[in-house]
């Protein structure tokens, strides 16, 4: 009798962060952070500037050593196996950090060589990004536009076919069209099986991630899928608009039962303390305050609203 033994090895390529802390001169930049990223996931670290996102990236890419806690990337420990991590992850720092005086092609060749590979070997992975750069391949990196620089940086981070990709605020300072394009690229990379950890201060980008961690002052406030996070938000948010926006914020803040008031695009987002809040009452109040063209309607909860309430 023959036994056909099929062995299926599920490779769990993920990021595990356990109780990581890091201080700079007694100021805690990262405070007991714990999270996990599944393999093939697009995971977002969402938080304002100074929340500790970059420090987490620098620890996970072995540039910094944590004061406490431990972390593994692709099953390698960030302290003990830092060498293995360096050859299996791609990192794109927030600040453009390629050689400005080398051309697009030279930058790519340089990074390919120091990773012990060639441009041709992993061309398939970067092909659809590189095609957009190809017309400028003899131009110096310093002379590229912001969007092009970012594409080049992504190519350089991908040149050695990394298993995990770290992108620290990749879309900061990039125009909205390029930002959208960039996220489409990330989605395509994800389909190729690359685990992606991305950080961004833009809340609207959060909904494009599979899961997100909301982070502030070095602490993680919430981790979940963005849809779950917004769906779980129980308070009702109203979009309010009138002709005099500035006066509107002021008057809403003086409304006795207000919970929070903040500008959100063309509207003011208003949340009331009372469950039995009636928009008509507020309408009446605002009319008394001489507001005209008043619009009050229910708003859709966004990550930003959740974040504002944390």
């Amino acid at each position: 009798m023959n036994f056909d033994i099929a062995i299926v090895i599920a490779i769990e390529m993920n990021i595990k962060v356990q109780n990581i802390s890091k201080s700079y001169n007694k100021i805690k930049a990262v405070d007991a952070v714990t999270f996990e990223v599944n393999s093939g996931e697009l995971f977002g670290l969402i938080g304002p500037d100074g929340a500790g996102k970059t420090t987490i990236f620098r620890i996970l890419t072995t540039l910094l050593m944590p004061d406490e806690g431990n972390a593994t990337v692709a099953e390698y420990d960030v302290v003990a196996d830092y060498k293995a991590i360096r050859s299996s992850v791609g990192y794109m720092p927030g600040k453009f950090s390629l050689y400005q005086d080398l051309t697009v092609e030279e930058n790519l060749e340089f990074f390919a060589t120091i990773f012990g590979t060639t441009l041709a070997e992993n061309y398939a992975l970067i092909a659809d990004i590189y095609i957009q750069l190809e017309p400028f391949k003899d131009r110096r990196a310093g002379a590229l536009s912001g969007g092009m620089k970012q594409k080049l940086a992504l190519c350089c981070a991908l040149i050695h076919a990394p298993k995990v990709l770290f992108l620290d605020e990749p879309t900061t300072g990039v125009d909205p069209v390029s930002r959208k394009e960039f996220w489409q690229m990330l989605k395509r990379l994800q389909l190729k099986g690359i685990t992606i950890l991305v950080s961004t201060p833009y809340m609207d980008e959060a909904s494009l991630c599979d899961r997100i961690a909301l982070i502030q002052k070095g602490k993680i406030l919430k981790i979940d899928a963005p849809q779950v996070i917004t769906a779980n938000y129980e308070k009702l948010i109203y979009d309010i608009q009138s002709k005099n926006t500035h006066g509107l914020i002021h008057d809403l803040k003086n409304y006795s039962s207000h919970y929070s008031v903040y500008a959100f695009g063309e509207f003011i987002h208003y949340i009331d303390k009372n469950v039995d809040f009636k928009p008509e009452d507020l309408q009446q109040y605002l009319e008394e305050k001489n507001h005209s063209d008043i619009i009050i309607k229910k708003a859709e909860t966004t990550i930003e609203d959740v974040f504002m309430d944390l």
């Binding site: 890419t61 072995t62 540039l63 910094l64 050593m65 830092y82 060498k83 360096r86 050859s87 992850v89 990192y91 720092p93 600040k95 453009f96 950090s97 390629l98 050689y99 400005q100 005086d101 080398l102 030279e106 340089f110 990074f111 060589t113 120091i114 990773f115 012990g116 110096r140 350089c156």
Partner: protein, 374 residues
Amino acid sequence: MKIILFIIQKEFKQIFRNKSMLPIIFILPLLQLVILSNAASFEVKNIKFSYVDHDHSAASRELIRTFQSSDYFDIIAEFPSKKEANLQMQKGNVDVILEIPIHFERNLIKQNYTNLSVSINAIDGAAAGVSNVYITQIISSFNQSIKMRLQIYNQGNEVQPENILTIPSFWYNKNLNYKIFMVPGILVLIVTMLSLFLSSMNIVREKEMGTLEQINVTPIKKHQFIIGKLFPFWILGLVILTVGLIIAKVLFNVPILGNIFLIYLFTSIYLILILGIGLFISNHTETQQQAMFIAWFFTVIFILMSGLFTPIESMPSWAQKVTLLNPIRYFVEVIRMVMLKGAGFNDIKSQLVIIAIYAFAINGFAVWSYKKTN
């Protein structure tokens, strides 16, 4: 190996693309060599000479005439009083005041003895020292000749003057041409300065641009990166040396008596040492300005204590000991010995060994302090 070669190639590309650095690297040092070698002279000429003659005798006039006939002194003025002369010295119009006392000639004849007062502006101490030597020489030769004549005159009979003539013979630099002495030294200075500055600014530049962070997450090895970054400057140092030697030979006609390969052998080890110092500076600074400033600080000390401008033998003994740590000192010694004296391998062996040990120690220290993670 392939990675090192690739980094070297990248470095050269960057050096040649930096349009503002190219002239600084290749043209300025050579200009420096040409200008400094012509200008940095130890000869003191055109000393502004003045005198106050209270005696107005034949002897005093003769003394002044001897100063007049010297190449080194320009007779600016005769002053009626010391007070006025002092005033002019204060204004900077004269450098030397010779005061001839009253009864100068009479005392010489009668007592065989008289005093002369010489005041020298010593704001520039070195020049004052040299002036002093010239003045003493002139006065003592005058002294000899006048004594003889006075004796003849006094005794009324002919006495054969006893003359001891010293004819100095300057070895290794027959005409005492200061350029032959200076050019090799200035060449050393330029090779050192250039390689130290460029190497210390180089790795810091990657820090400043943020590219070091990107490099640090790659599997590149410490030694690959360091060798790749520094090797181009080792080559540049040797290129500058070559061009400098050609200028020294063609333009200044400096003799190269020894084997030129000894100079190259020494320089190639010496450059490793200098690049090590550059790497060390790079490791401990965050910006190019900081690196530049520290490199400048060391260069100034190295130059002033190298024996290039002031002889080491005339330094206080503690300073002489400090110069033992000065790499430029050894290079200046070796290049002068090989070029002017024709020294062979055995003559420079001790310097070579010292520099090699030094290079090994500094580089070991620099590499050890270079960290990829913080």
